[in-house]
Symmetry: C2
Subunit: 493 residues, 2 copies
């Protein structure tokens, strides 16, 4: 089916409708917003197998993966529903007046988080449900009280359209303002550009390539009124293997990494693209075991031809760099639409000299960086770009003994993992899916977990307000019974 | 005295020392950082009257004001000391593992806020102590665990140098890493530029003009690795007078505003530069009373000749715009170094057509916008730029009856005030000193109050960490006894 790009007039119309919706939607109670988000989850489930089939046909992802993604999508809609229904997320503060204070009386002051305004969301190619039309960006923005305008990803425009229809049904069912969700197609960059540049747009969510995300970030900063862009872009998720314990754990570590590198044909933002280790006997055994595993994993059909082309080009380029040696490839070559699992290695000195090797190769590929010693390994760590994750494989004692390494890698990533792999991003309050540039454009916010809502809000203080004029969250009697910091003390009663 | 600009080599040296200091300073306990911040306050007080005299001589501010500012400065150092000693500000989260979960076990995940890295601070001309060398930006960044590099404001370089020496004494006294605070002079923009562009710099704090703040923001976004700039820039702080109650309150309102407009020669970022009202009999009485008060308030010597020149130029320009009429000026004309209190008015239709009238005139000036009716008044409100504050003067019933006005102005400001003036920014947890562009570059953060620390941190998640390797804030036994969200429930025990 052909999906027609929105015209500039349609973009403008969608943004105007968003703004009208915003002025009423923002004032709805958490309970009403929760009803809406739960209805979105219900309507997505009501699409049944037809949604699964559409997503499979558009992305080449297997049924189990798409079904898992659907569960994740409805799960985060319901998670944000619970969050806003409970209400404490607004971080309410109350400081009572001190009329007797000298030299001047202190006024009553209260503060809470309020929605920032209409949010434009660009869905991810690699998550047709969980980071797309009703993905984490959309769900968290709607939960915050912001209307959402989705630019459908052209690689799964049919899936996007089905989900958009489900959201629209939920709007009608729960009596939300119609304009609170808009869905536009745009293969042409002009549509995305018009959305980001529109005066009504107050923030942008994006998941995709560094080139795409950085282009939107630059556009947003060139606006007469700059707006925040939350772009999740590029991460190679280094895994550091500590030398002393590797001799005992190489088999388990190799199996764990082989699965992580090739899961969903390596098309995860948390795919471990770099393994950094000391060149010793244990590493040789690790590489032999990893090679054995990788060689058996078949090539997989990638999300779309553009992603496959990009993988082949970037893989070829990486393998041609000075000092890079192929360690193993899957015995299954696949075709030009497939990603063939591949492991290569390079001496640390060459890696340090060649910035191209620190760039993401999106697909089932990992590069092993062989270091002479721990000093060189720490030196590699200290030159690393910003990452979503960094992982350390080693015993507790060994990590403790090399605490300077941990002290350095914490500066380079948003999530640190011990004896595990970076793939698998839990949706919990303690999740941080974000990290220093270029992994994202703003390391201060997460795209996954309840705190994702914080991207789309700003604080407003209310000074000397009569109780009747205050939002419910700040009224003296705390009618919503939320956690508040009152005169410096956190309390609920 | 002559203060020599730092060379590019000195900038580089300062940044390198900051980074070295960062790698140890960030790991110090909240208790140790609190000792340091309290020592900073003590050492500033130990400077005694010589600091007051230096600041008075450099800024023309009166003694009471400078003494008040010193109290505010030492006050916020001690406030942040208390905050980091208590420790709950790191927003700790703990989500236990679920090893039995199917299809895959859930790992243990914990999260807290960590310092972002070295922060460059540009002090404000109008607050030689409270928003300068040991001002709110410096104190909150040091509290967060970030080294600070201050670019001294050339208009009070002597004051800045004295405060820097006090901070250095506190560093020695409490055994902090020497590089944790750096102080550089730079009349030339090249110094500031080099600081913002340095790879080690992780964030920038700035208080000053729109031109200056926007230039730093643009520079920071052009870096290969963009960094956040917290610039507080330009706000005209509209005050909306509701018509029905003005007849009864015009005298009190006029006196309150006259004082607020002329306090410290109008040199506050929260100075009420715009008064928006309906053109009726009550407004005539209000203007008569305001004129009576303003005419008696003497012209005041401004902070420095550049600020006085700018005030005269911008005032003249505003008064020359179509439809603008002078309502009153102080009978004291002052000289070219002085700011003469001035009130003008303009019909709303002219105001709406002329964007220049919505720009800040930094000094003792306020423009009254005369509206035909509430519809026009709401239309003016809806076209307003982003502001630090917006104020509503009116009875509770009247504000309630015109709730659409409140619904619009909440989108335009970071702090809303009922029946009060915007000057006077309380340092409390519920303060929000920030607002939509162009009042600041990032409406999601405050520059005043405990939450100012949030500008200089980012979250990091720790997955599957052995207890011994976790930061104290996240250890299972909660040794710091801080508030944490544990498995979804906020708790302290």
């Amino acid at each position: 089916m052909e999906y027609k790009d929105a015209t500039i007039e349609e973009v403008d119309q969608a943004m105007r409708e968003s703004q009208v919706a915003f002025l009423s939607y923002k004032n709805l109670s958490g309970k009403k917003k929760a009803e809406f988000l739960r209805a979105v989850a219900d309507e997505i489930e009501a699409l049944g197998s037809s949604l699964i089939e559409m997503a499979m046909s558009e992305t080449n992802l297997p049924e189990a993966r798409v079904a898992g993604e659907r569960a994740r999508t409805t799960g985060h809609c319901r998670m944000f529903a619970d969050l806003v229904e409970e209400g404490s997320w607004v971080d309410a503060r109350v400081d009572h007046a001190q009329p007797e204070r000298t030299p001047a009386p202190r006024p009553d002051l209260r503060k809470m988080l309020v929605p920032i305004g209409p949010v434009v969301v660009f869905g991810a190619a690699n998550f047709p449900l969980a980071y797309s039309t009703a993905g984490g960006d959309t769900a968290s923005a709607l939960a915050a009280g912001c209307p959402v305008i989705v630019k459908a990803h052209p690689a799964h425009a049919g899936t996007s359209t089905m989900v958009a229809e489900a959201i629209k049904k939920a709007i009608t069912k729960t009596g939300m303002p119609q304009g609170v969700f808009q869905h536009l197609h745009g293969k042409n960059f002009a549509v995305g550009q018009a959305l980001v540049m529109h005066t009504i747009t107050k923030a942008v969510g994006f998941t995709g390539s560094l080139v795409g995300g950085k282009a939107l970030f630059d556009l947003a900063n060139k606006r007469p009124v700059p707006i925040p862009v939350f772009a999740e872009m590029s991460s190679i998720n280094p895994v550091y293997l500590l030398p002393e314990s590797l001799g005992a754990t190489f088999e388990k570590t190799a199996s764990m990494l082989a699965a992580s590198i090739t899961q969903s044909v390596g098309q995860f933002c948390t795919n471990p693209g770099l393994i950094i280790a000391i060149d010793n006997e244990a590493l040789k055994k690790f590489i032999a075991k990893l090679s054995e595993e990788i060689s058996k994993i078949p090539a997989g059909k990638m999300l779309h031809p553009g992603i496959a082309d990009n993988f082949h080009r970037r893989l070829k380029e990486s393998l041609q760099q000075k000092g890079v040696t192929i360690e193993t490839q899957s015995t299954d070559e696949g075709s030009n639409l497939y990603g063939r699992p591949t492991i290569a290695s390079v001496p640390a000195q060459e890696f340090i000299k060649n910035p191209l090797l620190a760039e993401e190769v999106f697909g089932p590929f990992s590069l092993i960086v062989k270091c002479r010693d721990l000093t060189e390994l720490t030196s590699v760590a200290s030159r690393m770009h910003g990452q979503l994750t960094s992982s350390l494989i080693g015993s507790e004692d060994e990590i403790q003994n090399h605490s300077s390494l941990l002290n350095v890698i914490v500066e380079k990533a948003g999530r640190l993992i011990v004896n595990g792999v970076p793939t698998g991003v839990e949706v919990v309050p303690s999740q941080n899916h974000g990290g220093p540039f270029p992994s994202t454009t703003d390391s201060r916010f997460t795209a996954v977990g309840t705190d994702a809502i914080k991207r789309f809000v700003r604080p407003v203080a209310f000074q000397n307000f009569p109780n009747a004029l205050l939002p419910a969250e700040l009224k003296e009697e705390n009618p919503l019974k939320i956690w508040r910091m009152k005169n410096g003390t956190l309390q609920k009663a």
